[in-house]
Symmetry: C2
Subunit: 417 residues, 2 copies
C-alpha cells in the first residue's frame, strides 16, 4: 500500500476497545492522549511503534509526527537504548537505593549543560516543574512565581489548564506575564514586590492552538536581569523542547542561562523519567526540600537515558530534527501556496506547528489532518508536533505526498485564497 493512497481506515478494533474503556475509565480516556480532543477519525488505541512509525490497534500504520507527544526522540525501538534498558532490567530496576546509573546520568547532565551543577530525578514533567518551584522557594524564602499566560507547565493543581478540582489558594502566588513581552514581565515582577521566588519560562512559546514563538533575546535577558536583581531563580521549562532545540539547553540559543531547568519527555526515549538541573547557588536549597517517588531512582529508565543522551549528542539529534523539520516546513509552505490555502508555521522547525489562516475553530486543520491521517500520516491540527532522529528525508517526502492531497481537500471544502 502506498503511503499516499487514501484509505478508508479500519477502526473496528479501536471502536471495540473504546467501548470497553468507556465502562472503566472516566470519559473513556483522559489527559493529553484523549482522542476526543482530535477530529473524528483519529484512533484512540495503539499497539506498536518502530522508528518514526506507529500502528494503531487496527493495524493502520502512520508516519508519526507526534513522537508520543515528545518522548520518542531517537525513534521507537532504538536498539542501543532498548539493549541498555534490558541489561539493567536483568540486574534490577527498583531497589532499596539507586543504582550506579543514577550517578552516571547525573554526571552526563552536568557535563552537557553549562548551567547544570547538580541533578534531581523524577518521573513526570509536572514533578520537575513542581520541584523547581520548591527549590526556588526554599532558596529565596519567597513565594511569588511569574508564569506566562496560557503556558502549560504541567497538570498539578498549581498549573493544570483546567480549573476543576483546583482551589484559588493553589494559585495564590502566581503572577502572569505575556511571553516575549518585556513590559508585561517587568510589571509582573513589580507586582511581586519583595516576594519574588522565581520566573518560569517555557523554552519557547508553545501554547495550544496559537502561533509559537522563539524567545527574543531581549525578553530572555530581561528575565535573567529581573531574577538577578531580586535574588530570584530563573526556571526554564524544557519538558517539551529539551534535546530538540539545543543540546546544552534551549536558551543557549539566546545566550541566557537559567538557574533551574525542568526536563522530561525525551530524556530516555520513552522510558519514564524527569529531571531538574540547577546551579550551585541552589544546591543547598535542593538538599533541604523533600520530594520523592517510589520509582524515581529506578535504574532501567536511567540506563535508557544514558544511552539516549549518548546517541543524541553523538548523532547531533538537534541538527537532524531541525533539518527534517525544515524540509517538512518547506514542503508544506510550497503546497499551501500552490493550493491557495495559506498556513502559518511557527516556532522551531524541529517542533512544527501548522495553523491555517482564517481558521479560528481549526476546521481547516481538521480536514487537513484527517486527510493526511487517511494517507498514513499522523499529524496534529493545533498542537506542536515533534521530529525524531528516525525521520529520514524519504519519510518527510512520503509525508508530503500525503499532505498535498490533504491541502487539496481543504481547498475543495473551504475555497482557495
Amino acid at each position: 500500500m502506498s503511503s499516499v493512497a487514501s484509505q478508508a481506515l479500519s477502526n473496528r478494533q479501536d471502536a471495540a476497545w473504546r467501548q470497553r474503556a468507556a465502562k472503566v475509565v472516566p470519559g473513556g480516556m483522559t489527559g493529553h492522549l484523549n482522542a476526543a480532543s482530535l477530529p473524528a477519525g483519529y484512533p484512540q488505541f495503539f499497539e506498536r511503534g518502530e522508528g518514526c512509525r506507529v500502528w494503531d490497534v487496527d493495524g493502520n500504520a502512520y508516519i508519526d509526527f507526534m513522537c508520543s507527544w515528545g518522548p520518542n526522540l531517537l525513534g521507537h525501538h532504538r536498539p542501543e537504548v532498548d539493549a541498555a534498558a534490558q541489561r539493567q532490567q536483568a540486574l534490577g530496576d527498583c531497589l532499596n537505593g539507586p543504582t550506579p546509573r543514577f550517578v552516571e546520568l547525573a554526571e552526563r547532565f552536568v557535563a552537557r549543560s553549562a548551567h547544570a551543577d547538580w541533578v534531581l530525578f523524577q518521573k513526570n514533567g509536572t514533578d520537575a516543574t513542581t520541584v523547581s518551584l520548591m527549590v526556588a522557594r526554599a532558596a529565596t524564602g519567597k513565594r511569588k512565581v511569574l508564569v506566562a499566560t496560557k503556558a502549560y507547565h504541567g497538570a498539578d493543581p498549581w498549573c493544570t489548564p483546567v480549573p476543576a478540582g483546583v482551589t484559588s489558594e493553589d494559585r495564590a502566588h502566581l503572577i502572569q506575564y505575556t511571553y516575549n513581552d518585556v513590559a508585561s514581565l517587568e510589571a509582573a515582577a513589580d507586582a511581586a514586590g519583595n516576594d519574588l521566588a522565581a520566573i518560569v519560562c517555557a523554552a519557547f512559546k508553545h501554547d495550544l492552538g496559537i502561533d509559537q514563538a522563539l524567545p527574543t533575546p531581549e525578553f530572555a535577558r530581561r528575565a535573567r536581569e529581573l531574577c538577578d536583581k531580586a535574588g530570584a531563580a530563573l526556571i526554564l521549562d524544557e519538558v517539551r523542547a529539551g534535546f530538540r532545540v539545543h543540546a546544552g539547553g534551549s536558551w543557549e540559543t539566546v545566550g541566557v542561562r537559567p538557574d533551574l531547568s525542568a526536563w522530561s519527555k525525551s530524556i530516555a526515549n520513552g522510558y519514564a523519567l524527569a529531571a531538574v538541573t540547577g546551579v550551585d547557588a541552589l544546591r543547598e536549597a535542593a538538599t533541604r526540600i523533600y520530594t520523592t517517588g517510589s520509582f524515581w531512582s529506578g535504574g532501567v529508565a536511567m540506563a535508557a537515558g544514558l544511552a539516549t543522551l549518548e546517541i543524541a549528542d553523538a548523532a547531533d539529534v538537534v541538527g537532524h530534527v531541525q533539518r527534517m523539520g525544515q524540509r517538512l516546513r518547506d514542503g508544506i509552505e510550497a503546497q499551501a501556496a500552490s493550493h491557495g490555502t495559506p498556513v502559518r508555521q511557527t516556532g522551531p522547525a524541529a517542533l512544527p506547528l501548522i495553523l491555517f489562516d482564517d481558521d479560528p475553530g481549526f476546521d481547516k486543520g481538521a480536514v487537513f489532518t484527517v486527510e493526511a491521517l487517511r494517507r498514513g500520516v499522523y499529524m496534529h491540527p493545533k498542537h506542536n508536533m515533534f521530529l525524531s532522529l528516525a525521520h529520514t528525508e524519504h519519510d518527510i517526502d512520503l509525508a508530503l505526498q500525503a499532505t498535498d492531497p490533504a491541502f487539496a481537500a481543504v481547498a475543495a471544502r473551504f475555497g482557495r485564497r
Copy 2:
C-alpha cells in the same frame, strides 16, 4: 558464606559512588532512599535483585525486608511479570495513545475491588493522592480536606513532610485529625463546616518511627458516616498497604468502602505505575478534572501490572505475606524475650515494624539493624517493612538466625531488662 556469619561488609564501591554522587546530586542523594536516614553501615547504591534478595554495589547480598519500600510484591524478576513487560516492550510502550493493556488493567481493578467502578492511571503515589483530592473537590465544589496528623500521603507541596519550599496556601484547606480517634475526626469535620470535600485515611496508621495501628471499625465507620452526611468523598490511601492487607482493598477488613482509593508501589511489581479507583458517583467529576503525564499511558508498566495482579490474586499474596510476616514476628518476639530486649511489633504482620522499648532515638534499633545487616539481612530501624511472595519460610528462618545475635548485641550494649 552462611547467612548468619557476621561480615565486615565491603563498601569500597559504595564509597566511590557516594563520592561521585556528592558532586552532582544535592546532598549525594535525596528522598526516602537516602541512606543518610539510616544508621552508618547501610549501603547507598544497589546493583541487583532476585526474588527476596538484593545485592549492593559491593556484591553484598541481603535477605530484603524493604522490598524497594513496597513495590517488590512478588519478588524481583518474577518471570511472568518480566515476560509480559518484555512482550509489550517489543511492541511499544509510550505511543500516541494508550495500548489495550490500559483497558485490560482498568477492567481488572474494577473486577477485583467492590468499590472500584472506574480507574485513572498515573506514575507516582503522590499523583494518585493528588488526583484523588482533585476529583473530590471537583465533585463536591468544596475545599476542606481532613488528613491525619503525621500521616504520609506523598511529597507534593500539599503533603510533603518537610516544609521547605512550601507556602502556607499549599495547605490552606487541610484540617488535621488523629488516626483512630473518632472525637478528633468529628471535631475536624465540624471545623470544615459546610466546606468538606474529603476525608483522607491511610489504609492503616503507618507513620514513621511510631507504633503502627490497624483502623478500628468505629473509626472507619465514622469516617464513612461523616462523608455521607456532608456529601464528601472518603479517600483511602492504599499506596503503601495496597495488595498486602486485603486483595479487594484494605478496608474490606473493617467492612467500610471508600469512594476513592489511591494505589501505587506494588501494582506492577516494581514497574512504575499508580492508579486512582473510584465509585460511579464520582465518575463525572473524574472526567472534568485535567491531569496527565507523558508516560502515564505507557503499555509496559500496565502489562506488568496485569501479570502482577493476576499472580497476586491467584497465589493469595495477601495470605502468604501475612503468614511470612507472622512467622518473622513470632520469631522476633521470642528472641526479644530471650535476650531481655523487649520490642513492640505493630500493624499488619505483612508490613512489619519493630521498635524497641525505651528507644526514643532509635539507638537500639540502629545497633539491631546494623548487626542484622552485617549478617545479610536488610531491615529498617524505624519505618515499616514489607514482605513479598518470594519470601519463603526458609528465608524467614535464615533471617531469624541473623536477628538473634543482633538482639544479643543490643543486650550487650544497652543491657537486659
